[in-house]
């Protein structure tokens, strides 16, 4: 078996970790010497640049520099949150033929978020190969617990394009608990709050006799450190208009410079009560003269700007406890994960909601990747006696041409699981039956997420109602949905055709994998 790595594929930063020869998890450093790599890809004229080096792209050509691709992965273009996000991004989004969200590059080329994520994964893979001095072909990749089947599949596709086979898609709260060493200690009930660059996840995780069970997960897929940056930028833009009399809100380069400075200031304000923000050349006046911008930002000022975002923390936490049927006092330990939990006001707010001081992990950015590496060790048999139990985050429904959606697999079924439905022909010698697969449990198709349209074809010639197709829907340990079809009475396999689907097709994934292999 070849070496496998654990990858925390984050919205803003990604981390890769391995299990050392002495069995201890180890975070790998990038060529620049940092443990985290920005999830950033600059499509420069000379080809894609990934990671720290791509920061240059933010300065030169923000429209060709993609950050936060994880937010776009496996999402529909017409999703209201994507529409809202599109207005604030310096690069352009475009709908793919199947309704997915793609990125429109300035070069007139559209690229899928899967390919962008694959570029990041390939870079992490290279880092690991440089350290291990051997090829890496397998990985455990962490994903938010609330990811739907399409997003999970998209993550798997991205890995395949990057030449990595996914040993497991591991949910981030579980990874955090594992990375924190929960499997070694006593039985405990954890509440994991993961506030990363782009997403906020809350999970109630019980650890009992080495068995990890996620009781409830909630979250806000559009709340994170990037939003805090944006709040700072919005206020600074207003400040620039008032103090300098120029409007830079439509100047993409100026906004990008402001965003980088805001991010830096935010980090400084976690440790100091005030920080100085300096931009040598923010924008140019019509005369061609550069505008310099200096400002001291106080922590309480930033906290005021971020307060609408901080307020959004409470609802998911309360909802998670409620779903788990647990009082806040019954939680043994609160784990804070993700770089944004370093922000003092976030800690204070979580402390207020939970009525206690949360545990401070020294490395909130890295603990998820360590968990992923430990998962590799667990699957390879280096760690014994630990088992992770996960449940389906959402139900799966099915519908035929004229019917409403009918639930096949209920929400919070333990995975892996399988259920089936029978479809009968409605007319004599009917050659095929079409059906749709949905994620969600609503009878109304519009309220569910469409996973794909399929057809069972080449049905045997028989009178109406005589051919019964057994459609089996399986959710595997990665939370990915698989389909199988057979004729009920004879038990013979039937051919399933995929007519429409979310995400990339198998052929596209293979083609991209090949082209990426050739490029490297």
């Amino acid at each position: 078996m070849s070496r496998a790595v654990g990858i925390d594929l984050g919205t803003t930063n990604s981390v890769v970790a391995v299990i050392d020869r002495d069995g201890a998890p180890r975070i790998l450093t990038t060529a620049e010497g940092s443990t985290t790599m920005p999830s950033l890809v600059w499509f420069s004229p000379d080809g894609p640049v990934v990671g720290e080096a791509a920061r240059a792209g933010l300065d030169h050509s923000p429209d060709c520099t993609v950050f936060g691709a994880k937010r776009l992965l496996g999402r529909r273009f017409d999703h209201p949150e994507i529409r809202r996000l599109a207005r604030t991004l310096p690069y352009e989004l475009t709908p793919a033929p199947n309704g997915d969200t793609w990125v429109q590059l300035a070069a007139g080329r559209a690229i899928s978020p899967e390919e962008i994520s694959a570029l990041i994964l390939r870079e992490l893979r290279r880092t690991a190969e440089a350290f291990l001095e051997e090829p890496v072909t397998r990985a455990v990749i962490t994903i938010p617990a609330w990811y739907d089947a399409a997003q999970r599949q998209a993550t798997k596709d991205a890995a395949q394009i990057a030449g990595l086979s996914v040993a497991r898609l591991l949910s981030e709260p579980t990874a955090a608990a594992l990375g924190h060493g929960a499997h070694r200690g006593q039985d405990r009930r954890y509440l994991v709050c993961d506030l990363g660059g782009g997403t906020f996840d809350v999970a109630v995780v019980d650890v009992e006799g080495g068995v990890f069970e996620v009781l409830a997960t909630t979250g806000d897929p559009f709340l994170g450190g990037d939003d805090v940056d944006r709040a700072i930028v919005d206020n600074l833009v207003r400040d620039v208009r008032q103090t300098r009399g120029i409007d830079i809100s439509s100047d993409a380069i100026a906004i990008e410079r402001l965003r980088l400075a805001a991010q830096h200031t935010k980090h400084e304000l976690s440790d100091q009560p005030f920080a100085k923000l300096t931009i040598a050349e923010l924008a140019q006046l019509p005369s061609g003269k550069g505008v310099e911008y200096n400002r001291t930002i106080r922590r309480d000022e930033m906290e005021l700007w971020a307060s609408p975002l901080v307020k959004r923390i409470e609802a998911p936490v309360i909802a998670a406890l409620e779903r788990a049927g647990r009082k806040r006092e019954a939680v043994d330990e609160v784990l804070l994960v993700g770089g944004s939990t370093r922000i003092p006001i976030v800690r204070k707010e979580l402390g207020r909601i939970l009525g206690r001081d949360p545990s401070v992990i020294p490395n909130p950015e890295e603990v998820v990747a360590i968990g992923a590496a430990l998962e590799v060790a667990r699957l390879d048999g280096i760690i014994d006696g630990v088992l992770l139990i996960d449940v389906a985050a959402r139900g799966i429904s099915m519908s035929t041409a004229d019917s409403e959606c009918e639930m096949v697999i209920a929400q919070s079924s333990v995975v892996p699981t399988r259920e089936h439905r029978l479809l009968a022909t409605r007319s004599d010698n009917q050659p095929r039956i079409e059906f749709d697969l949905w994620e969600g449990e609503s009878p109304e198709p519009a309220r569910n997420r469409h996973l794909g349209r399929y057809a069972v074809v080449d049905l045997p010639v028989a009178p109406s109602g005589d051919v019964l197709c057994l459609i089996e829907v399986t959710i595997d340990t990665d939370g990915v949905v698989r389909l199988g079809a057979s004729e009920l009475v004879s038990g013979e396999r039937l051919t399933l055709e995929q007519l429409a689907h979310a995400g990339l097709s198998r052929a596209e994934v293979l083609r991209l994998q090949k082209s990426m292999l050739e490029a490297s």
């Binding site: 109630v204 009781l215 209920a410 333990v414 109602g465």
Partner: protein
Amino acid sequence: MAQARTLHVRCTTWEQVDVFTTRKLRKGKLLSMKVPFETKAGAPLTLGLELPNQLVVAIDGIVQRASPIDPEPGAKPDVSRTWIEVELTGLTDEVMNRIRTMATEELEGKTPPIGSTPPALRRTSAAVVDDLPADERELFQHLSSELRRMRSAAVHDVLGVPADANAAQVRTSWKNLIRRHHPDLVARRAAPAISHLAEELTILANRAYDRLRAALVAEGNGTIVGPTLSSPPGWLVGFEDIASGGAIVRPSQPRLERVPDATPRPRTSPTLAPSTIQGGEAFEARARAMLATGDGDSAREVLAAALVVYPRSRSLRALYLVATAIVAVLRGEVMLAISQLETALAHYEQSIEATMLLEHVKKYGAERSDEMRRVFQ
């Protein structure tokens, strides 16, 4: 007066012995079963466990609980049967070890060296994977025979719990089962065939668990949070137990196998009672009970599930088509209903329901569809 009885339990294969020692016993000593005689709590009882090598091990026990079973319709009324729970006091660790040693060694095809120390017992712990055969071929055979057995077992037998198991029992057994079979435990072998078998076994265990906990929740005997299942803090009244005008539960309807229980609990609907998923006939009985209440959709669901297990049962297929026809009539699709009923008769001429309903539908069309359920009452 309490009379000492001997109960003969015959295991014809070593797999059965293995199942007996690992799955049938609760707390290592308690055995629940149905017996064809009357008995009382406190009565002595000797269990004669016959092993496949004709060796009979006598184990003394005392009846802890006993409750009579209602005679099933169709069964001879004079056969009185009792459901009992026996504490096997004579099953000492020594006896247990001997039986297990024999079973383990027979299963692995070795002759037991006399006087050797018993090998590690099959305990259900996360580390159990080390007790599973190390040889890939043997592991494959072991897992596939487990899979064959579990595929034909009723849901509670998959988990190895009594049909009336409570929330804690169901959860513990399920946890033990996945600790044995979870695909992650064999991932290190990097053998796709073995991983596949482990996944199939886990799927069966998870499905059984999901069904049983759904049933427990429906009966008001449990609450679900994520993968866990716990007993409710207090007495919960099932929603359907709250009397609502008009809907009267007919006591004669569910021709189901009754599970005796010392404390009768509210049975909300026959839909989810797990104890009844036991055979083609039990499925039919459940479906008929649903059709009698006019719930054609649920009946189809039950029959579809049954058809997977008994794909060649003509009567099941016919009943499935009848249920489909009823759903079609309720939607006003008379032509579809007629074709479904005719197909049902083509499959199973003797279907009285199909004959009667076909007449009814041909006469009234989609009207008076309420009368259709009378066929099943």
